[in-house]
């Protein structure tokens, strides 16, 4: 049972108020018509599915109804960062690895 910080409501809320929305930062191709079948299929269906650090989108469905991003470890379920739509993560698999070497 996750406890998720909503960056818009400014507090931690229970998981049941949120819905997970899959991988974050998926951008719809700007020119779909000139996108190959392969690229279009990738956009529709193919996802990062990492064991470890994952950037994912959630919506505060029973709350402010805002979408936002969460960086979460898919093994420990620890939430490492929460950031708004349009922002980029500061914690990534790469930064975590560096952190580990320190």
């Amino acid at each position: 049972m996750l406890h998720i910080y909503c960056p818009y409501c400014g507090e931690h809320r229970e998981e049941s108020e949120f819905r997970p929305k899959g991988q974050a930062h998926i951008i719809r191709p700007k020119d779909p018509v000139n996108t190959s079948d392969e690229e279009w299929g990738d956009y529709l269906f193919f996802r990062e599915n990492p064991r470890g650090i994952h950037h994912e989108m959630w919506v505060h469905a029973v709350g402010c109804r805002k979408f936002f991003n969460v960086t979460r470890d898919t093994v420990s379920y620890e939430i490492l960062e929460v950031y708004k739509m349009g922002e980029q993560p500061t914690v990534t698999a790469a930064t975590q690895q560096k952190g580990g070497q320190k």
């Binding site: 406890h3 229970e14 018509v33 620890e78 739509m85």
Partner: protein, 1008 residues
């Protein structure tokens, strides 16, 4: 027989009142403060159950959650039956009725026991994998026999009269366990002002202090515990929950607590103020910090015949004597590996009964308790262990020998002792279960000879849960942890003065798990590891011999730890034995995974009040009470209750629907369409947004005009549809399907918030705000004109337009859109006025033949017109083109709308896709089955090539014939072709592919 094992004094029971109870049909007495187990022992009841596999007689072993044997069926009536209650955790109450779960004809003399003796040899672990294979056809018969032996208790066959509920709580510090560690930690945290919750699963708080030999401030430590509880109860921000088990520890410090509110009172919950109260309550706790003060379980020693009644945990013996005033036997032999176990012998001795000997595995035990035993003249046999118990229905003796643990063999001559009770203690296993629930593996400690809790963020184990055992150290540890936990939540603790503790100092323990026998393990009498599942040391040895080298394999092959006790007593021993067999260390072998629940929880408690009438919300429209009065039958659509049809008198559904259909086609009908999703869309980019999200075009839709739209996912498959009206230049009202409403609003927000935030547009749900009443049929205009000031002239208020005005004195928006093909007005008013308007229309019921109709009639009427229902005529694999709705596709829209790209994917370009068509049964009396499969050649053999299926099918009173919509491969080009529908009853129907529009193909009737 009356309480032959009850001491005349001592214990925490109330001898002033007597409680009557029955076990296996015999009446007994006990006292308030007893558990069922202590009362049974007081009455000298030895056999409480028969074992699962071998039907061996079993007695009470432990005094708490770890009890594997004393699992009983409780309940005085059928509805109040509770299977598998642990007698050691069930408080005694007046009239308690319990029975053994196994044993036929009774638990004393069990025929299966004989079978167990004879057949036991034939039933090593996994025996069923190796047999019952021939002939193959016999397996189901064999299985029936195997199933006869299944299960412990039985489920009631009547519905539970009780209710259960949940409370959601947040706190700074949750303390699990109220022994000295828990109480001290809670005090330290509580005094800081932090929000603290402390729970303990027992009837009384105090944990080990309730049967301790130690002194706190020179007094019985139970007094200190009582004072601590009193202080906690007096604190505003502290919640004290007795009889409450932390049963599951989930991510981010979410812990579920199960509070038994009435189980100590009766088998059905008594009422409060004449109102039912919850039998049990789950608390859902989100804690800042968790303190795990769950203590440690005494570990039994594994020796031959260690399951015969009279074999008990040393700690349990102490508990029964000191806490319940019950000595569960007369002559005791204690086998131990540690000083703490000596308490059993000392307590026994002090109770005035005979201690035959203490058998200590250590060569030179020398702690205070050992000295005390020596001073009392108790015989101590060192370097030795009990390796076999004697007796069948009750212990009659113990066989003792020197042991050589390094070489795993007996090292001296055997001595037979006469006794009726063997107490054993192989050391303590910290209760690490909860910590493991979130995935943290327990960590082995050589020093503690046990597993310690793994690391969990925000969790601190204290006291014996982390193998800190001396009481003064426990208290110091806990106070420190309680204060730090509070500090971590921002609360400063003033600090606590530690009480004075007097306790015995203990010498080091040694590791003792399985005791070697004269014979090899496979040949020795059974040495039980998991008593509930009849798993013996030999079974574990056999499993490892057969290649099951992982402890998880051993568990699954032998069923070790699978029982209702989840191996609280047996697992660590089993792991040690597996390690020995595999030549590994215990940490190399590791533990199996501990999972919720710590102790089992009823389904009812977990479900809470979300059952029966409150299982799932029922959503009502503003007109619901009218529909009820009118005798409507309802259909579940999502969570909504929608009128399905309105039978008159004894009318069948078929007749009612035919009548309703004809009323609409000939006069006027009315439908409560309030459940349609409605989204108010405003902003200067609203139109642009609609163009991106719908398949069709929106740039030219004028103010006051409405248009039908289709929505796809980006894979091109239809997901929703509805009519959207332009209310003003920057203002639209979108309607969605009933089921789609919430999802579509989120869908719009998703695209707006994540892809196109630059578009100026806001979406707001108004589904519940507007009530929608659809009047439809040739007389709709006449009817409406009775109650409105809106100009209904056909040229001033045209099809697919919207007007504002008064209806029955209520401000309304009226839309001329039609889902029936008839002249239609959809009247929308603020829902508080819906009934007023509806009733005003019904004032003219007789004059116009106004007929209320439900969803079934709506379906028939729309299908006659070939209008689709998303989710019925589509299934997530259907494109707008498959539906023949090219007219609803903006092929040349500048923005590549959602779903557009899919038009040109290889699969969507195929010309043999399933396409929506009409089907006319050749025999008009036939109403094809919805879901019937379609073939071209009815004479094929199975498997047949199916080319489509029926999505909607009805009898049409206007056509006086059955008709259907279907998805058929390449159907659009096959008009007029015949297809076949072979049915389960052997009949094959024949039908012709036709246009899906069966009625008024030109659409003349809606345009009048």
């Amino acid at each position: 027989m009356s309480q032959i094992n009850r001491l005349t004094q001592g214990g925490r029971i109330d001898r002033s009142k007597t409680l009557n109870f029955s076990f296996n049909g015999t009446s007994y007495t006990g006292f308030p403060g007893d558990t069922l187990a202590s009362a049974l022992l007081a009455n000298g009841v030895d056999i409480v159950n028969r074992s699962f596999k071998y039907s061996r007689p079993r007695g009470i072993v432990a005094a708490g959650a770890e009890e594997p044997n004393a699992v009983v069926q409780l309940g005085s009536t059928e509805a109040a039956q509770v299977p598998n209650v642990r007698a050691t955790q069930q408080a005694l109450y007046q009239g308690l009725t319990a029975a053994s779960t196994n044993g036929w004809p009774n638990v004393q003399n069990d025929v299966m026991g004989l079978l167990g003796k004879l057949g036991g040899k034939m039933m090593p672990p996994g025996f069923y994998y190796k047999t019952f294979m021939t002939p193959a056809s016999m397996w189901m018969t064999y299985e029936k026999l195997i199933r006869k032996a299944a299960g412990l208790g039985r489920s009631p066959r009547e519905n539970d009269p009780d209710i259960y509920d949940h409370m959601h709580r947040h706190c700074d510090v949750l303390v699990i366990g109220a022994g000295p560690a828990g109480l001290a930690a809670a005090l330290a945290a509580g005094r800081s002002g932090a929000r603290v919750i402390i729970c303990d699963e027992q009837e009384e708080m105090g944990g080990s202090l309730l049967d301790s030999r130690d002194l706190i401030n020179g007094q019985d430590p139970a007094l200190w515990a009582a004072a601590a509880v009193a202080e906690l109860l007096a604190m505003d921000e502290v919640l004290v929950l007795p009889r409450t088990t932390a049963n599951g520890y989930h991510d981010h410090n979410f812990v579920t607590l199960h509070e038994r509110r009435t189980e100590h009172l009766a088998d059905t919950a008594p009422q409060i103020n004449g109102q039912p109260q919850a039998r049990a309550r789950m608390h859902h706790i989100r804690a800042g910090q968790v303190i795990l003060a769950t203590g440690a379980h005494d570990r039994p020693v594994v020796y031959a015949n260690n399951d015969v009644p009279g074999n008990m945990l040393a700690s349990a013996v102490s508990t029964y004597i000191r806490r319940y005033g019950v000595v569960p036997g007369n002559k005791l032999v204690l086998t131990t590996s540690n000083d703490y176990g000596y308490r059993a012998a000392l307590d026994w001795h002090e109770a005035g009964r005979e201690v035959v000997a203490i058998v200590d595995a250590r060569a030179k035990p020398d702690g205070d308790l050992v000295k005390a035993a020596r001073e009392k003249g108790i015989r101590i046999i060192t370097g030795s262990a009990v390796f076999e118990g004697k007796g069948s229905k009750r212990v009659s003796g113990a066989r003792v020998a020197r042991i050589d643990l390094d070489n795993f063999k007996l090292a001296g001559s055997v001595e037979d002792l006469v006794c009726d009770t063997i107490a054993s203690s192989g050391g303590y296993s910290p209760v690490v279960h909860l910590a493991a629930h979130t995935g943290a593996r327990p960590v082995w400690s050589d020093e503690a000879i046990g597993f310690l809790p793994g690391k969990v963020k925000g969790m601190t184990p204290v006291g014996s849960a982390r193998a800190v055992y001396s009481l003064s150290a426990v208290l110091a540890d806990a106070v420190e942890a309680g204060a730090s936990a509070a500090a971590a939540c921002g609360f400063e603790s003033g600090g606590i003065e530690l009480p004075q503790v007097q306790s015995a100092t203990e010498g080091p323990a040694c590791a003792l798990f399985q005791v070697p026998h004269e014979k090899p393990t496979m040949r020795a009498p059974k040495q039980f590891v998991d008593q509930q599942n009849d798993v013996s040391a030999a079974a574990i040895e056999l499993a490892t011999r057969e290649g099951f080298e992982s402890i998880e394999h051993v568990k699954r092959y032998t069923a070790m730890g699978f029982g209702t006790d989840q191996g609280k007593l047996g697992n660590i021993n089993g792991m040690a034995i597996a390690a020995r067999c595999l030549g590994q260390t215990i940490p190399q072998t590791g533990t199996t995974v501990f999972r919720p629940n710590y102790t089992p929880i009823t389904f009812g408690a977990i479900a809470g009040r979300h059952c029966r009438d409150l299982f799932d919300p029922e959503r009502y429209t503003a007109l619901h009470s009218w529909h009820l009065k009118r005798g409507a039958k309802f259909e579940d659509v999502g969570q909504w209750k929608r009128p399905w049809y309105f039978p008159i008198g004894n009318e069948s559904m078929h007749d009612a629907v035919a009548r309703e259909c004809l009323a609409v086609r000939e006069k006027v009908g009315i439908l409560d369409a309030s459940t349609l999703g409605k989204i108010d869309i405003q902003g200067k980019d609203a139109r642009e947004f609609l163009g991106r999200i719908y398949t069709n075009k929106w740039e030219k839709l004028g103010v006051g005009k409405a248009r039908y739209g289709l929505m796809c996912k980006d894979d091109g498959m239809v997901m929703d549809d509805g009519v959207t009206t332009c209310l003003a230049e920057d203002h639209f009202l979108m309607t969605t399907t009933t089921g789609g409403a919430a999802g579509i609003l989120e869908w719009l927000e998703l695209w707006h918030q994540t892809e196109w935030p630059e578009l100026e547009v806001y979406f707001n749900t108004v589904t519940d705000h507007w009530a929608t009443m659809t009047i439809t049929g040739p007389r709709a205009r006449d009817l409406l004109s009775e109650v409105t000031d809106i100009d209904l002239d056909k040229d001033n208020f045209k099809f697919m337009e919207c007007r504002e005005g008064q209806v029955a004195g209520v401000p309304a928006r009226v839309y001329r859109i039609s889902f029936t093909g008839e002249l239609t007005y959809e009247i929308n008013v603020q829902a508080n006025y819906a009934m007023r308007v509806w009733e005003a229309l019904f004032q003219h019921e007789a004059k116009y033949g106004l007929t209320p109709y439900g969803t079934e009639t709506m379906h028939v009427l729309r299908a006659e017109k070939g209008f689709i229902i998303v989710g019925q005529d589509t299934d997530g694999s259907v494109t707008p083109e498959d539906l023949g709705m090219q007219w609803c596709v903006g092929y040349d829209k500048p923005f590549s709308w959602i779903g557009h790209r899919a038009l040109t994917r290889p699969d969507t370009k195929r010309d043999d896709r399933k396409q929506l068509v009409g089907l006319k049964p050749v025999d008009p009396k036939v109403v094809l089955q919805e879901g019937a499969q379609i073939v071209r050649d009815p004479n094929q053999t199975i498997p047949m090539k199916m080319v489509g299926h029926v999505t909607s099918s009805y009898y049409s009173p206007v056509l006086n014939s059955g008709f259907a919509l279907a998805l058929v491969m390449g159907g659009h080009k096959r008009m007029g072709e015949k297809v076949y529908l072979p049915m389960a009853d052997g009949k094959t129907h024949e039908a012709e592919i036709v246009s899906p529009i069966f009625f008024d193909p030109k659409g003349a009737r809606q345009n009048v």
